[in-house]
Amino acid sequence: MQNKTNPLVSFSVLRPKMIMWFMVAITLALGAFIPKVTVDTDPENMLSKIDSVRVFHDAMKKEFSLSDMIVLGIVNESDKQGVFNPRSLANIYALTQYAKTLRWKRKDAPDKFEGVIEVDILAPSTVDNIKQGGLGSVRFEWLMKTPPATREQALEIRKQAERIPFLNGTLLSEDGKALCLYLPLTSKDMSYKVYVALQKKIKELKGDDQYFITGLPVAEDTFGVEMFKQMAISAPLAMLIIFLLLWVFFKKLQLIISPMLVALCSVITTMGLLIGTGNTVHIMSSMIPIFIMPIAVLDSIHILSEFFELYQRYKDRKQTLLIVMKELFTPMLYTSLTSAAGFGSLALTPIPPVQVFGIFVAIGIMFAWFLTITVIPAYIMLMPQKSLDNFGVSSESKNKGKGGLAPILKKISVFTVYKAKPIILFMILAIVLAIYGISRIQINDNPIRWFKKTHSIRIADKVLNQHFGGTYMAYLLLQSSEEKQSVKTAAKSLLKSITDSLDNFKKDGYRVDRMRKEISKTIKIFSQQTDIPEKFISLFQKSIQTYSENAPDDELDVWDGVIYCIESFKQRAEVFKQPAVLSYIVQLQHALQETKVVGKSNSIADIVKTVHRELLLGKDKEFRIPDTKKAVAQCLLTFQNSHRPDDLWHLVTPDYIKTSIWVQLRSGDNKDMSKVVDFMDKYIKRYPPPVPLSYHWFGASYINIFWQNKMVKGMLSAFLGSFLVVFLMMSYLFRSVLWGFLCMIPLTVTIAFIYGTVGLIGKDYDMPIAVLSSLTLGLAVDFAIHFLVRARELFSKYKNWKLTVSYLFDEPALAIARNIIVIAVGFLPLIAAPLIPYKTVGVFLATILAVSGIATLFLLPALITFFQKILFGQIYSTKKIMCSCVSCIIMAVSFVILVLLNLKRFLPSGPLTWILIITGIIILAAGLCCLVKKRFSSCNK
């Protein structure tokens, strides 16, 4: 196919030293950026900073002063009073006091602190208790001002806290065995520092208490630290194993250093470029080295394999190299381009870390390709001549030298030709089973599950979620969606309420007629002056104020009454003081509880009910929402006479237009959060609120399900897109749509197999799994390309498929088999990783390689055997690919779908649009077809 030697290759062969220097220089230059690395483990960054859900989440967090929290649990299983014994409580007190000090002056703003937000700590010594104070009085005091001296006092604290719904199940476990401290942080990235400090303090404490630290920020930060360790261990370990395997195959230490060099330099330059361009290293991008390495090694192995086979025949490395490179240049270019396209397509997903990952893996692959075709030849040229003397397979020892692989391959080649039909049947069955498996796929992710079961964070998570309402937070925001009144309607209803009030005064014997006139006149004047109701009211109130100040003494009470009417009117929008609305919140909280996932929820209604009960002698039947809005307001003002009045503003905005229900989930699984969201959607539809309210979710757990849904959709369309790109490239490479299809089969089977397995074994479809589709696309198509390119070349030479197969299973298949083994085995060390995503990638990488290798080596020859007449019929045809109307239409349609996939987000949706678009495609394809047929005279030969 390629008749001339590529100038790049000949340059490398002629000027090997220059190439080596170039490689060293660029690696050092870009590698210099690596120390500047910043790690980002925040799942929130799965959404772009300007994503509406994230913007809303941030805005709400600010509006309700909510912070990310570290949860510190203290459990005592040995004392029969649980943690409610003097020693445990003394420890808890000491820890709280210590946690208060975990604040540090900010470097950029020395007057500000970062770390634990002291005022918002939830701990027995920092929360308020409202209780009966004897003789019908009510008492506000710290729940545990100082640690108790006796066991009875300790138990009393438990009894007190249990009566406060806000604390029960949140601060203390319902079984009394455990207590939780909630330590809000100024920013998430402080969590590791606080975590380490707490661990240190815990070591100093005596007693039989167990301590558990969890919370999303801790998990994220710890993950970041582990990620570094992982990168430092796994990637080099994988390299070492690849190295050993290469040595087994080629037995030439000096030579096999070269693919390692290529892999290392590709990884360093890519990571250097990634960091140098200001990107953070996210969980996804930390996997870039692991993805680039096998792909970088692949091509080198092809060259070495071929060189190994041919060297003894020519005994001249330059000549051998040029022949090898000539043969391999096109397949290598295409394999790299397809892999790059597969990963590059991830740039189209709506998830920034995945975009960065895709783009940089694609860059890395192309760079590895460049290094492979230049550095490998240059390296071979620089080796001392005599070190090559006993290298490779001499024609005499040909069969001996290939070790155990060759005879196996020989058997496969025979098998595939004679058992073509059963193989194809088997494939079809496997695909059917896989489709069933895919239908059972469960989409789910959970950052805590990124750790192994035995990791302290996983254990803490399990223990604390058993004892408490849940350590995963989501918030359900309810917002008044009452329409804004116009000035006219505002004026009308205000006048009505004032008139009613005046009527009452009249009944009590006051003279009100003069004022009545005055007021209605004033209302009329001011309502015409402005369009903004608030402005109208304030103007009107000012004027009434002036009247009342100059009024005679006997009118004072009435003016006072009028001002009261205006003041009440100003509060008309405060829906979350309305008893009916608060009762609805209680109802929603019960519904949340029904999902079983939610362990606990807290709302303004809980506060109102508790205060109401304690005001009315602490009777359980008074644990309810009072009957009037005023009573609610007065309970709330009473609450604000406590040590922590601002706790209220975590649950409602001061204008009482928005409220947030704090929902504690026992599980961080995205599927559980989705379940809650779906359940509440249905519930609210079925039981609508008493006043117009809109509702929205926010909080970390919700953000997670939102990006997850986005990821699944995004990955699917990215995969479809890259599938089409690769298909078009293959059709072009082989100048045949049919061969293009053939080339896509191994990877299709592999992907079906992988995702079918994921579905069947019940593994959650999470982020690493999602990204594997791109890897499969990249790797599986590589083998197919090598295989088919060689198959066609050999067939042109021998014109006989059976003969072709036997040659095909000689050196080309050997290279493929070696590749499969090297990479599959090379990545098995990842299974030992402490972080689950790496484990997953390790296992699946090995599986993908094995399956796609088998699919290539068994399926392709079987399929070719079965369809050889049609397939090879095309080779003899000299017609251009576009001459076939069918090919033409298929390619046109694929191309248009590809464009559409990419433009999708800019297009309006709806059936009509799609009908128009599809019609357009058909017309376009048909037109193209006609045009081509007429244009090219060569078609009509």
Partner: protein
């Protein structure tokens, strides 16, 4: 020449005399005496008093909440027992709510709360006066005054205008601060600023923003309490301040919580 000399001597004597007297004066007065005078100045002006207070609570996000209440005060003994009656006018839904306090010196205060919507008079039992006053950044203790015997006082610095006193609680467990410094005007003994510390961190301040002489009494008419950790603050403005108006002591009883003393609440 002689006249000049006499003049000079006279002037010099005057200056020296002033200097000496100031020095003696400064050395003479103890920290406790300053505190005692300041306490009378800030909380015991006149035999009784009345004011309308507009309170604006601004939170860390700049959101404002407003409260308006009438405050009535009667001193039983200067520097000793006092009675307070706080009547809420705004917002409308807490109108007619009342806080009543009988301030004692060596025992816990008596406190009452009246909630009109529940028609409920409630005694509040508390030995802790450092809770928020109606959700503002002022604490209950800032309104009625902290007992001067609860802290040890030390004069740490003097400037031209101020005595600066450091106050350390005798029972550190009873309060959230470790110490506070007060700036007391040397001429008037009016405390104009307090800064509260936990260890070395200043976390809370109270400042007088405006003072006026009303009915012959120096009065803080605008003051501000700030929470330096959250950035929230509350400003109180005192209007219609009146002194010595002979408020009947019987108004400060449970009966008048339900039955509001209209005359005094205008």
């Amino acid at each position: 020449m002689k006249r000049y000399l006499t003049g000079f001597i006279f002037m010099a004597a005057l200056v020296i005399n002033t200097l000496i007297s100031t020095r003696i004066y400064a050395e003479d007065i103890s920290a406790d005496e300053i505190v005692e005078k300041a306490n009378l100045m800030a909380f015991y002006q006149g035999a009784d008093g009345k004011a309308k207070v507009n309170m604006i609570i601004t939170d860390s996000l700049g959101r404002e909440r407003k409260r308006t209440f009438i405050i009535l005060r009667k001193d039983i003994k200067d520097g000793g027992e006092q009675k307070y009656y706080v009547f809420f006018k705004k917002p409308a839904d807490v109108r007619n709510m009342v806080f009543m306090v009988w301030k004692h010196i060596d025992t816990d205060d008596d406190r009452w709360l009246y909630l009109p919507a529940l028609d409920l008079v409630k005694r509040i039992a508390s030995n802790d006066k450092r809770t928020s006053f109606a959700g503002s950044h002022f604490l209950y203790e800032d309104i009625s005054g902290r007992g001067i015997n609860e802290d040890t006082h030390e004069l740490i610095k003097q400037t031209d205008k101020f005595y600066i006193l450091k106050n350390v609680p005798k029972d550190p467990q009873s309060v959230e601060f470790d110490s506070y410094n007060v700036w007391i005007d040397k001429k008037t003994f009016m405390p104009l600023k307090s800064e509260y510390y936990q260890k070395d961190e200043k976390y809370r301040t109270i400042e007088a923003l405006e003072t006026k002489k009303i009915d012959g009494y120096l009065t803080v008419t605008k003051s501000k309490a700030s929470d330096l950790r959250t950035g929230g603050f509350t400003v109180s403005e005192f209007e219609k301040v009146q002194y010595d108006i002979n408020i009947d002591e019987k108004i400060f009883t449970e009966r008048y919580l339900r039955q509001k003393p209209r005359k005094w609440l205008r």
